[in-house]
């Protein structure tokens, strides 16, 4: 083919927003192509909600923040960044952006062989405090070394373990797994869900102790957490 190698920018509409697929290339080049594309179709993009699909590219907070601001200058609001790299995903989450489109099973999910192979077995480790507004959704287990503050949310298809204070909203076994458990050193969640069961933490009695919550005969029960005994 005699087509000169240039960065591609593809746009497609989904629901009430747009998905922009960025092609391969240097990040500077890609950005240039993207903004050229937007400027050519200013009236189309003005006021649009855009999800960016960045593929395998790794983006850090600086790059993503700048991009978001530059897009905002052109009246485009960035609401999601979709990518294959966990770094990119966590950056997007830190900036309060979504990391997947609302349709859960995209073609991309099918291509993630490793993930689906490990489904239910894989886990992510978050070594930070999850502050208000921070949301983690993960297909597998979630382990947090730090606190989960009120206003933060964890959704996991597996279990959730918090080495710290759990005060936010947590949903374990989100895809229906009733065997999932939630453990924390100090367990006072705003709301706790396991599969389809919802419970609210009772007022604390006695001193703080590590607890484990699971579903037992259709009831959400909390009991002292003795990791040695191994739970389920």
């Amino acid at each position: 083919m005699l087509v000169a190698k240039r960065v591609t920018v593809q746009v497609k509409g989904v629901g009430d927003g747009l998905v922009v697929l960025l092609g391969e290339g240097e990040w500077q080049e890609v950005q240039r192509a993207l903004f050229a594309h937007i400027e050519e179709r200013q009236s189309f993009f003005s006021g649009a909600k855009v999800a960016l699909d960045v593929g395998n590219r790794i983006l850090y907070a600086g790059d993503m923040g700048t991009l978001r601001d530059r897009l905002a200058d052109r009246g485009v609001s960035l609401w999601a960044v979709i990518g294959n790299s966990p770094t990119t995903e966590s950056t997007a989450q830190m900036l309060g952006l979504a990391t997947r489109l609302s349709t859960p099973k995209s073609e991309r999910a099918a291509s993630r062989n490793l993930d689906s192979f490990l489904e239910g077995e894989s886990a992510i480790l978050l070594q930070r405090t999850l502050r208000s507004g921070f949301k983690v959704s993960f297909s597998g287990h979630v382990v947090v070394v730090g606190d989960v503050n009120p206003g933060a949310e964890i959704v996991a298809s597996g279990s959730v373990v918090v080495w710290g204070c759990l005060r936010g909203v947590v949903h374990a076994g989100a895809e229906g797994n009733e065997q999932a458990v939630v453990c924390a050193l100090d367990l006072t969640p705003t709301q706790l869900r396991i599969a389809g069961n919802i419970s609210v933490a009772p007022k604390r009695k006695g001193k703080i102790q590590p607890e484990m919550v699971r579903v037992h005969e259709g009831q959400v029960v909390a009991e002292p957490w003795h990791p040695k005994e191994g739970g389920r």
């Binding site: 502050r131 507004g133 009120p150």
Partner: protein
């Protein structure tokens, strides 16, 4: 001289960002340091009123950024403290008149001439907030000891960390001393435990703040008031001095717990 840029923010409105900015600015200037306060709340300007400089505004922040005046012309010098300047916000425009990179450029221009640049952020987490924190070296998060303000402060801290600004520092404003004495306000320690960032200010609730705000005379100018001293202490701590938290003069379990917390936090 290279100024340190301090952005005062909160998330929730009405917790005392502007009061803190004005008083810390005055306290630093009273120490003989060159200070400029920038009101980044474009469209809802307040800082000029609190500092009592409202009637002297000719040009504002947006004029300076859009090149309708020189930066010097937008700076209002305080009559009481010759080292204190204010760059007021525009009242007839909105947040979109300024971009984060404009703020960075503006502060870089000011840095050589000042010791401290204080930026009063608008409430919220949108454009105005991003404008305000873009040039910050230090971010001060102001909160009140109540659940909604703390929730918003927590969100703000997460956003500041995501912008790679380092952990912000905390000011707990409007702590009610009577409630502390009654043992009803455990909130301050709980606040600190939840937010887990360095505390630089603990300001008691005081009616005279309302009076001083209306008159345009920051409370810190009145050396006798405890609340003024609390703001002055924030200025000292920003300068790197160690000042004990004696703002709340109560011998209670509260202070004991607080000092225990602080030790645990400063490991």
């Amino acid at each position: 001289m290279t100024a340190t840029v301090v952005t005062i923010t909160s998330g929730k409105g009405g917790v005392g960002k502007t009061t803190t900015t004005a008083n810390v600015g005055v306290a630093l200037a009273a120490e003989g340091l060159k200070v400029v306060c920038i009101d980044a709340d474009i469209g809802l300007r307040n800082l000029d009123v609190v500092l009592g400089l409202e009637n002297r505004i000719v040009y504002d922040l947006v004029d300076a950024i859009e090149g309708r005046c020189r930066l010097r012309q937008a700076m209002i010098r305080d009559k009481r403290l010759p080292e204190l300047y204010l760059i007021p916000a525009a009242q007839t425009r909105d947040k979109s008149a300024v971009s984060p990179s404009d703020m960075v450029r503006l502060c870089d221009e000011l840095r050589p001439d000042f010791d401290w640049i204080l930026i009063d952020s608008p409430a919220g987490i949108e454009r105005g907030f991003r404008n305000a924190i873009a040039p910050a070296d230090i971010v001060l998060v102001v909160t009140n000891p109540e659940v909604s303000a703390v929730r918003d402060a927590d969100r703000i801290i997460g956003l500041v960390e995501a912008e790679e600004k380092g952990p912000p520092r905390l000011v707990i404003n409007r702590v009610n001393t009577h409630m502390v004495k009654r043992g009803d306000m455990l909130a301050a320690t709980d606040v600190l435990e939840l937010l887990a960032i360095e505390l630089v200010g603990l300001v008691p609730e005081d009616e005279s703040v309302v009076v001083s705000t209306n008159r345009g005379l920051p409370v810190v100018l009145d050396g006798k008031l405890k609340v003024g001293q609390a703001f002055a202490n924030i200025a000292l701590r920003l300068k790197g001095e160690t000042v004990a938290f004696t703002e709340l003069d109560v011998k209670s379990d509260f202070l004991h717990r607080l000092s225990k917390m602080l030790r645990a936090g400063g490991e």
